[in-house]
């Protein structure tokens, strides 16, 4: 049954890929010709952010701490809405921009673009390895294959359609996958509440109250602040989202797509956390967080339900992985190679394709080093937010942003994040993301002031 479900899913995906067709030019590979309509921008942004963390992870957190994590998840929704209202239209307005690094290059200078490109490619590879690991776990659950073969299969399927189709295929397959999981997951919740939960509403409400109170009492305030900061800043404008802003048909499509995706995320988190709350009355309390969703569905759904869920999880993971592979490849071509040489369109397209394969291989190999899904994601958030956000957002708003400010901010943000995340994790009490973000902001202000004084205050 599981095998049939997966085969049917892969066949449907192949059909969508074939219809979506091959990218023939770099602008098609990187920006889908800047012609994405609202529904596809919204669907693909939502499919890109709903990865294993926002599905399996949130159900597990709902199981342990009830609606506490829904409150934390709201920070993510706010971030998406703010990006839609304040940043996306300004970014979309820039001409001849393929990546966020390109935007930084236009606002500051070429060196800043290259540094932003290196950080973007590294982060895309890091995020991709977390997705590859999660995909391997799910496939291993279905076929019982060795873990490295499971990872290799997931990465190979995703890389194959991303390599040839580029962003357009990634967006269209994302919309297909979004449709699958946004219909099937809520149905699972409704089945659980109305047919499997004894006492229905009363049980649900009492479990929600008990779990949320337990979650609040067991989470220290400082840890709570760190989580809210990570959700508010960690995924802001990461390369796949920036590419979707730039690929939108108009500025208003980019704005509305992100605002809708933000609203959707708050509703989605509610569904996931509710599934976790429902699970409290159905599965044993000592169940591991990452296995709550899988065990719940095994118990409550009919015999065909479990393979269907596994297929949904595969789509959740692959839709995030394809976006990361494409964004990393485009950043490599546009921000790291293109500034050094005048590339023809064909050469850029070929480099983009090779980079997709290379990042996929790096992700598959390093997937074994990822500790667990949520920790892996938090590490990536901790580096991305301080390294890029101050530079990108302030640069879009200032009339004359200074290159020295950008270089200082990106370097200091990255170094402080790496130092306190990996080298001395226990040296500070506050979360590393907050310290690194604060340092990057200070470095930006210092760089701006020094550069302004150097070149004359009224220049």
């Amino acid at each position: 049954m599981s095998i049939i479900a997966v085969v049917v899913y892969v066949a449907l995906l192949a059909l969508v890929v074939v219809r979506a067709r091959l990218a023939r030019e770099f602008v098609e590979f990187s920006l889908a010709r800047r012609a994405l309509p609202l529904a596809l921008v919204f669907g693909s942004v939502a499919a890109a952010y709903v990865g294993p963390g926002f599905s399996i992870g949130f159900v597990g957190r709902g199981f342990k701490s009830g609606f506490l994590f829904w409150g934390i998840g709201l920070a993510y929704a706010v971030q998406n809405i703010l990006v839609g209202l304040l940043v996306a239209p300004r970014l979309r307005k820039l001409k001849d921009c393929h990546t966020l690094g390109d935007a930084i290059g236009q606002k500051y200078d070429r060196n800043c673009q290259i540094l932003a490109g290196i950080i973007s490619v590294g982060l895309c590879a890091g995020f991709a390895s977390v997705m590859a690991k999660a995909g391997g776990v799910v496939l291993n659950n279905i076929f019982d294959l060795p873990k490295w073969i499971s990872v290799a299969i997931v990465v190979a399927i995703t890389a194959s359609y991303t390599t040839f189709g580029g962003l357009r295929t990634s967006v269209i397959t994302d919309a297909f996958q979004f449709t699958l999981f946004s219909v099937l997951m809520p149905i699972t919740l409704l089945v659980a509440i109305f047919f499997r939960l004894e006492g229905s509403a009363a049980t649900f409400a009492s479990q929600a109250a008990v779990a949320t109170a337990a979650g609040l009492s067991s989470t220290p305030p400082l840890h709570l602040v760190g989580l809210v900061a990570a959700f508010l800043l960690g995924e802001t404008l990461i390369p796949p989202y920036a590419n979707r802003v730039l690929a939108s048909k108009t500025t208003s499509v980019s704005r509305n797509g992100f605002v809708l995706a933000g609203i959707y995320s708050s509703v989605w988190f509610m569904i996931m956390v509710s599934l976790g709350v429902v699970a409290r009355s159905i599965i044993p309390a000592q169940t591991d967080e990452d296995h709550v969703l899988l065990n719940l569905v095994k118990l409550i759904m009919p015999i065909w339900g479990y393979p269907l869920l596994l297929v949904v999880l595969m789509s959740v993971i692959m839709s995030s992985l394809d976006s990361l592979l494409n964004a990393g490849a485009v950043a490599f071509t546009q921000d790291i190679i293109s500034p050094f040489t005048n590339l023809t369109d064909t050469a850029a397209l070929n480099i983009g394709r090779c980079a997709t394969v290379a990042i996929a291989i790096i992700a598959a190999v390093s997937a074994t080093a990822v500790p667990d899904i949520i920790t892996g994601l938090l590490i990536c958030y901790t580096i991305w937010a301080p390294a890029i956000l101050p530079v990108a957002i302030i640069g879009l708003w200032l009339r004359r942003p200074r290159p020295l400010a950008a270089i200082l901010s990106m370097s200091v943000g990255t170094l402080v994040a790496i130092t306190f995340q990996f080298i001395f994790p226990s040296a500070i009490r506050i979360p590393a993301i907050i310290l690194a973000f604060g340092s990057a902001l200070l470095a930006y202000i210092l760089g701006h002031w020094l550069d302004r004084n150097k070149s004359g205050a009224f220049k």
Binding site: V16, W268, I271
Partner: protein, 59 residues
């Protein structure tokens, strides 16, 4: 209170389903739209044959 919470969760579930259906309709529209190359000429070459100016269209 309990009933309100349940209604809230059910409405949330239905909104997510509605979002999925909306994107599915857009996806079907995007995939079934005629391809640019099927509808419009992508390259035009003008040639002079027998003194008559003709425009050949290559799909």
């Amino acid at each position: 209170m309990k009933v309100f919470l349940l209604i809230f969760v059910v409405l949330a579930a239905l909104s997510v389903v509605a979002g999925g259906v909306w994107v599915a309709i857009a996806l079907i529209g995007a995939l079934s739209r005629p391809r640019v190359s099927d509808t419009y000429p992508v390259r035009k070459t003008t040639s002079l044959s027998n003194g008559v100016n003709t425009t050949a269209t290559k799909p």
